[in-house]
């Protein structure tokens, strides 16, 4: 084992870890006694430069390497995904920078960065142990981030709920992983698949599959393991919710697809119409269908925009699971396209909610009334984000759906066996249009109260939101920019 090689492979994460310490030091030592706003600015500056540093390291180390036999695998794809995660973190920090929800600025930013480190390690992991450790690093940071608004009881409640559910899902995951290890005698994913090959579908393997799916089902908030999501999204400080919805989604989906396709190769089963066979695809198919239906139908009746986004996240998790279960190279790359564009879009949407919440004191639908007059730029961004989530062309969300659905149908071109899932997904996405339009109706059609003042958007947030909106439009019109990296 060459330690220099290990260090070079882990350079981006190491850079971020140093940044964490620096953020804490700067905030505790230099910025004592400054206003929260100034402290946030200083901390954001340090964190963002740390992220840029880490991004630089991922760029310079663009080769393929696997120095620790699966613990830390680096190739072009993981590097690209790490860049995406870093970008999402930068946007999250920019959105948080105007927040007034906490006075523990250094700790907040440090936790965001720690979460990012966990997610980045997760992307590089091809070993059950490493997957579990990095997942826990990310999750623990997210639990605390959820609880960060100490003045709000709902924030603590949400965090506790998130933590309990998360802990349980971790237990399920561990249980599944231990079974896998017992069956195959290895923790390396490729090794597991090789050792399991030819053994058929052992009942124990099925249990391992189900518990793994349950464990990740919690992480990606798929029905019926979604119950924490609406409360966590609603109670958490909005920038934290944005981070949970964006960065952690990207990494979780990537690793879920990796475990299922690498580790459970040979136990796919089948989810095609009239050809159902036990295996992981059939389990995922059920979870996906339930998520799409329940997420979309429940979102219709929400009056809090954050809850609405939470249920829409559940529905989107359902669409994305289709990409997982189709299990072809094209479906995987379209899954990544989808989850990346989704993360950018939902981050933007939460950014708009953050601003509106700060200005009007709530995130109910009525708080968005007349937004187009009170903050034209902001509401234009909201329009772009929500329409993209709803799948209106030519925005990124539509192209993502088209890629994903056509890849899923294309896996069984002769019999169109997975078409039933795609039909369900498309009809449900038609339903989703209704609730996104409800929010936009508030912003564009209804009028604000008589003397409602214009909303001042902090410049950093506005820049971040505009950039995100431009990205969403650009990736919709020229998807080639992203697809060539996947």
């Amino acid at each position: 084992m060459n330690y220099l090689e290990v260090f070079r492979a882990a350079a981006p994460e190491a850079a971020l870890a140093i940044t964490v310490l620096m953020v804490l030091t700067v905030d505790l030592v230099a910025m004592r006694g400054e206003s929260i706003e100034r402290r946030f600015q200083a901390g954001a500056l340090v964190s963002i430069s740390g992220c840029l540093m880490a991004a630089l390291f991922t760029f310079t180390h663009y080769g393929q390497t696997d120095p620790l036999n699966g613990l830390l695998v680096v190739d072009q794809l993981t590097n690209f995904l790490k860049l995406v995660l870093l970008a999402l973190t930068v946007f999250t920090v920019l959105i948080s920078a105007s927040g007034k929800f906490t006075e523990h600025v250094g700790e907040y930013l440090a936790l965001v960065l720690l979460g990012t480190i966990g997610l980045m390690l997760l992307i590089s992991a091809e070993d059950l142990l490493m997957i579990f450790i990095s997942l826990e690093l990310a999750s623990l940071s997210l639990y605390i981030l959820t609880a960060f608004n100490k003045r709000n009881a709902r924030s603590s409640e949400a965090a506790l709920k998130y933590f309990l559910f998360g802990g349980m899902s971790a237990a399920f995951l561990l249980f599944g992983f231990s079974l896998l290890y017992g069956l195959s005698g290895s923790t390396n994913l490729a090794q597991i698949a090789a050792n399991l090959a030819g053994k058929g579908t052992d009942p124990l393997l099925l249990v391992a599959i189900v518990t793994t799916v349950i464990g990740f089902g919690f992480k990606v908030a798929a029905v019926p393991f979604h119950l924490w999501a609406p409360d966590a999204y609603e109670g958490a400080p909005t920038p934290s919710a944005a981070f949970i919805a964006s960065g952690s989604k990207v990494a979780s989906f990537y690793i879920l697809a990796k475990i299922l396709t690498l580790g459970f190769a040979g136990a796919e089963g089948s989810a095609v119409w009239h050809g159902y066979a036990a295996g992981w695809t059939s389990v995922i198919a059920v979870v996906a269908a339930l998520s799409m239906v329940l997420g979309n139908l429940t979102a219709i009746v929400q009056s809090s925009v954050k809850r609405l986004l939470a249920y829409s996240a559940i529905a989107h998790a359902g669409y994305m699971l289709l990409g997982v279960l189709a299990n072809t190279p094209s479906s995987h790359s379209s899954l990544l396209f989808y989850v990346i564009t989704y993360a950018l879009t939902v981050l933007g949407a939460f950014g708009v909610v953050t601003v509106v919440e700060e200005a009007t004191g709530g995130d109910a639908l009525a708080n968005f009334a007349g937004l187009s007059r009170r903050a034209p730029g902001l509401s234009l961004c909201l329009l772009v984000f929500l329409l993209s989530l709803g799948g209106i062309p030519p925005l990124a969300g539509f192209i993502g759906k088209f890629f994903l659905f056509s890849a899923v149908v294309g896996t069984d071109a002769d019999h169109l066996g997975l078409l039933w899932l795609v039909i369900l997904a498309i009809l449900m996405s038609a339903v989703s249009f209704y609730y996104y339009l409800r929010v936009l109706k508030q912003a564009y059609v209804l009028d604000a109260a008589e003397n409602a003042p214009a909303i001042k958007v902090p410049p950093a947030t506005m820049c971040a939101l505009l950039l995100l909106a431009v990205l969403v439009v650009l990736l919709g019109c020229v998807p080639g920019l992203l697809t060539r990296s996947l």
Binding site: L387, P393, F398, F402, G410, A413, L416, L437, V445
Partner: protein, 512 residues
């Protein structure tokens, strides 16, 4: 060159967005200039096209190579007809919404965005691109109605948006399935309409995918029983909104049925021909019958649109040259006439009287107060009935001739629809403009309260019909007359298309 119709519209949107909030007059002028420029480009481009039967490529650059999508704009004669219609309707709509005072610039920005999307649909020869433009029209439609509409505007707008969205999603399912099957068959991914039209999809596949796509587009064309968005949407919309809805947006649906569903799945079309014709005729009779008993002036026109679009669908169902060319002609003709009818009801009458209820209108003697509106409505009405000399006559005659050869019994029923059409127009003319004297005396009998009511209307002189309205009305009537007298102008564009290779498979069974 024709592609500039799209670009000009969106440049207009940008220009309007940059205007200061108060500049209502400037917004109107910019919108009008944009629409005129679009129309001029449409005409010039149409004149340039030497052979309308051939699909002339305007732009073709790779867009998403991975799935075979191109940015492919092109035009054949059918596109030309509808592009020209869009240009005319756009100008007319702006002339009739000259009096929009609230949020003028936003209104016209949404309006031009809608127009740009419509041009895009008519010029796209890449299925995905067509779909993109098709969905792009939904959002401006929604906001135009929900923000500037009248009766139950939010309900009407949401209903329209959801119907369109569900319809377009049915189409999306069909497109994805077709793309996958075509890729499996030919070995390479393509979304090019011309290439896809050469693929012979398996019969069993066409059997279920054709109705999906046809109904998906047909929802927007007012296909019975999915038409119910149309009356509520038309009534809720502001005048320009209903003019565009009836004038061009419903044509998007019919165009999609023809261009995508029927061209890609010709055998499917043949399998379902009878059912479509039946639904079309039910639409014709049902729309006309319901229009006959409405109390709301605008609902009469709303349901008449359903009825007239039934002729378009009947024409499509014939699958022969004469029926199809009639259908396209009817799209053009109805676009002009329905726009005019909505202009009279929404702008000339409702904006001045603030009522559309026949019982109120009867007491107002509008025929005397607004003679221009009366004359315009009579002319538009007779054009709508299908009086020879106007465009509606030629179009419906062709549709019926085409349909007679294929389904004579159903066609006879469609004739009933025409008769009822005459009845509801005459009833509307009589009730709204030329009510008899007995009704007029009624307020006097009831004494002071009635007097007061009548006094507010006849006492304060009504705002006279403005110049933009006159120009718009004359323009539309003239167009309908010209096409009615010289249908060859458009038929020379339409018929060569139908004999082109694109329609060969569709028409080989039933051509004349």
């Amino acid at each position: 060159m024709l592609a500039w119709t799209i670009y000009i519209s969106f440049i207009g949107v940008l220009a309007l967005m940059l205007l200061p909030r108060e500049a209502a007059r400037a917004a109107r002028i910019i919108a009008l200039l944009t629409a005129i420029a679009g129309c001029v480009v449409a005409f010039a481009g149409a004149m340039q096209q030497q052979n309308p039967g051939e699909v002339m490529t305007i732009v073709k650059v790779p867009w998403i190579p991975a799935i075979g999508a191109n940015y492919f704009l092109a035009a054949d004669g059918i596109s030309l007809v509808l592009v020209v219609l869009t240009g005319l309707a756009a100008i007319a709509g702006i002339l009739f919404s000259w009096n929009i005072e609230t949020r003028t610039k936003e209104f016209f920005a949404f309006y031009l965005a809608l127009i740009g999307g419509v041009y895009g649909v008519f010029l796209s020869f890449d299925v995905l691109l067509l779909f993109v433009f098709y969905e792009l029209t939904i959002i401006p439609k929604y906001f135009l109605i929900a923000r500037w509409g009248s009766t139950r505007k939010e309900y009407g707008a949401m209903k329209l948006a959801l119907y369109s969205f569900v319809g377009s999603h049915l189409v999306l399912i069909g497109l994805i399935a077709a793309w996958v099957v075509a890729r499996a068959q030919t070995g390479h991914a393509t979304l090019d309409l011309l290439e896809l039209s050469k693929v012979s999809f398996p019969l069993g596949f066409q059997h279920w995918v054709f109705p999906l796509v046809f109904v998906g587009f047909g929802i927007l064309a007012g296909l019975w029983p999915f038409h119910t968005w149309a009356p509520t949407g038309h009534v809720a919309a502001p005048t320009a909104g209903s003019m565009l809805l009836a004038g061009v947006v419903m044509k998007l649906g019919a165009y999609g049925c023809l261009r995508v569903a029927m061209v890609l799945f010709p055998e499917g079309a043949r399998m379902w021909q009878g059912e479509i014709a039946l639904l079309a005729v039910i639409g014709i009779i049902y729309g006309a019958g319901v229009a006959l008993v409405q109390r709301d002036f605008k609902f009469v026109i709303g349901y008449s649109s359903v009825s007239h679009m039934g002729f378009v669908l009947l024409g499509l169902a014939t699958l022969n040259t004469i029926g199809l060319s009639g259908a396209v002609l009817q799209m053009f003709s109805h676009g002009i006439i329905a726009g005019l009818l909505f202009a009279v009801v929404g702008r000339m009458v409702y904006d001045r009287t603030h009522t559309r209820d026949f019982n109120d209108l009867q007491t107002m003697q509008l025929g005397r107060l607004l003679p221009f509106a009366g004359v315009t409505f009579v002319l538009a009405g007779v054009a709508s009935m299908g009086l020879p000399g106007f465009s509606g006559f030629v179009a419906e005659l062709q549709v019926l001739m085409g349909a007679w050869k294929v389904f004579p019994k159903t066609t006879m029923l469609a004739g009933v629809g025409i008769v009822v059409g005459v009845a509801y127009i005459l009833r509307a003319v009589q009730k709204a403009f030329f009510s008899d004297s007995e009704e007029r005396r009624a307020p006097a009998r009831h004494g002071s309260s009635g007097d007061q009511h009548a006094g507010t209307v006849s006492g304060t002189p009504m705002e006279p019909i403005s110049v933009p309205e006159r120009i718009g009305a004359v323009m539309l009537i003239a167009t309908s007359l010209v096409i009615g007298l010289f249908p060859g102008l458009l038929l020379d564009w339409i018929q060569p298309c139908l004999n082109s290779p694109l329609f060969e498979r569709l028409l080989k069974g039933g051509s004349l």
